[in-house]
Symmetry: none
Subunit: 226 residues, 4 copies
């Protein structure tokens, strides 16, 4: 996660981050501020200059930590995504009682509530974020993703007996697709918002959580029904 949970006494960062520890803290600070700006606006509207200013750093300094804007946001996506994986794993691990497809669907959908920045970022992944990034960073991301997919996928397979080996991961892939698509349908542009408020437009209005729950439930029921 971006914000560090352990609330240790915050020393002000030294002017120059010489120790790795300080560098890491500065890196997190930048991500934090980028998240703040992105939450309030959009990728295009977040200027590197603003990120720097909010971090109380010079523009050039930000580029010392992230070589490109895309790299910065890919790192942000990573932070948010793997935090979410952890959270989901936590929910799947801790819950007592029997797990049904519907329960999993609900759990997953709820775990994504308030994760708008994450899901919006997900939609930019291929189109934007991976466009201007070093192969190394791209690979690092993919490796970690693969691992998380494997781990969480396995957990799902444990919870839902009807899922065969590898099907947990695949379910997560479909989940990813649905999340990306539904997020875009739910976040309507201002011009469209009005139009969609007309009564007969109801079928086009998308409530992210509700629709995702529904789709996942159906998907899992379909897997169970084989």
């Amino acid at each position: 996660m971006v914000s560090n949970g352990t609330a240790k006494a915050k020393r002000a960062l030294p002017l120059r981050a010489r120790r790795d520890e300080d560098k890491e803290a500065r890196r997190r600070l930048i991500l934090q501020e980028a998240l703040g700006l992105y939450t309030a606006t959009s990728y295009a509207e977040v200027k590197m200059a603003d990120v720097a200013e909010r971090s109380r750093l010079a523009k050039g300094t930000v580029f010392l930590y992230f070589p490109t804007k895309e790299a910065l946001f890919l790192a942000l996506l990573e932070a948010l995504l793997f935090a979410w994986f952890e959270k989901l794993e936590g929910l799947l691990s801790s819950g007592a009682g029997r797990w049904t497809g519907e329960r999993v669907a609900r759990t997953v959908a709820e775990s994504l509530e308030g994760q708008e920045p994450l899901t919006r970022l997900l939609a930019l992944l291929q189109t934007v974020l991976e466009q201007n990034v070093t192969p190394a960073q791209a690979r690092g991301f993919k490796e970690r993703l693969l691992e998380a997919l494997g781990r969480t996928g396995a957990l799902l397979e444990e919870r839902l007996a009807f899922l065969g080996p590898g099907e947990g991961g695949r379910f997560l892939l479909h989940l990813h697709a649905l999340v990306t698509g539904l997020r875009q349908m739910a976040d309507v542009a201002p011009v469209t918002r009005e139009v969609l408020e007309l009564p007969h437009m109801a079928p086009l209005r998308v409530d992210f959580t509700r629709e995702l729950t529904e789709a996942l439930t159906t998907l899992l029921r379909g897997l169970e029904a084989r």
Copy 2:
């Protein structure tokens, strides 16, 4: 559809398109060329100047037909989308024999093969296209979409007895989400392509048609199983 299938003898357009017919032809020409450029590159890379040049028109002329770049691409999306709806309806209407969920899933997924420009455009709909467009155009689009959704949805309900009223449209909504998401996963950036070719990355490789068929089949099975 943008390209006119019926290869009727092409009269050269007059220098000035004064008749509605000629204007419509010129409009289609512009869309055609925009599609050509977009297919080969990306939204950001298509310059209005290039569209004009390829259409053998002056830059200003393009703006006579489409007030903004967004309007042009929204129009293009409309053309492609409604052509696809028609195509799908054709496939669903003409096919003889019994329709199962799986057959529908396959039909739908196949109808989307080679529709990369359409599905990529779909992903830009809210984020980009509806950002700089008149409420009138936005509304027009939504109205036509609603209608198409209703019509095609009803057809689906006819074909698949287990779909209740309105569920056809909803299925199409989920389809939209899946398509948007899967398209993005399938179109990997050049940097990523290499990474994904590593053998152990197989689970992250997405074959659009295959994955869509799979997801839709499962989804429909889930609906049938209720």
Copy 3:
């Protein structure tokens, strides 16, 4: 003047103005509409397309009557200016009783009240209007101006005994300069308006009529005092 005083029954103009009479009417119509637009906005904001539209004519048609935008507005200036000369002459001719410098100053200043379009146009004369105009039109304007200056100047010399031959015209020249300058000082840009409303800014606030009266009175007193 632009609007024709004699309120004869308005026949709708024929589609094609074949007779000189009709052409003249059409010309006046265009000027009228241009004035309407200019009064509400500014030279730059008046588009030739808008003038055409408000005149219910095609864009090209306007150019049949005025070869350039500048020519149109120069013609408008002429119409307003000579109408004003006539008005002023009327006031100077009709008034009974003794004429003093102050009375003339007041009369002139009042004759310019509500003539904002005229005085604003005057400020554009050299900078803008005469830039893209045929020598013929420029000359015609100057000739007529010279004549009006002579006529009204002579009238002034009649009214004010202390004005020698030619001094009436010269006074009008200085008047022109003052009007142009004061108009610009009186029409403050929105940003400036606020600033000028601060109490201590009073000395920078210009009331057109008051300041013009004052300056002209002083000027005439200066001429008298020689």
Copy 4:
């Protein structure tokens, strides 16, 4: 003043102006070049790109120093205007002997000789320059103007006993108006120049200095004569 009178050895500017001193120098350089271009042409013809090029800077760099074209030219006007105020004050302070209205008029008119760029800019003040400028800049300008008006006005009142308190400033306001107006009348467009050279057009030919001297003399005589 834009050009620095004291010809101290010009150190070449460093590639990056980091010290305030260097930044100020660069700012002046830009103003200088803008002035050069403006003197030779007109506001509309001066492109920001040209200013940059002549300053041997990148286009963007100019915008680092002046947020808009209007801001640049307002700053230029300020520089020229306040330099002129200083010059005028110098002339009014240094001259020995008795000051008459006529002497003041001549002094003022002569102080404006060769100040064509300044006076032309003055005519753009409300119409153009204050249109796209921050309230802060607009206010700063007005405050400084007020102050200069007060100071120079007081000096005038000292020199000319017949001027009451505040009348010096008011005289400067009328001066401003006259200058703006006369400048426009003196700068005839190429088309008009020819026309005006015809012998009988003499009354319309305006010699800026001569006419200004005349008008100011009369104005001051009028004030004295009360």
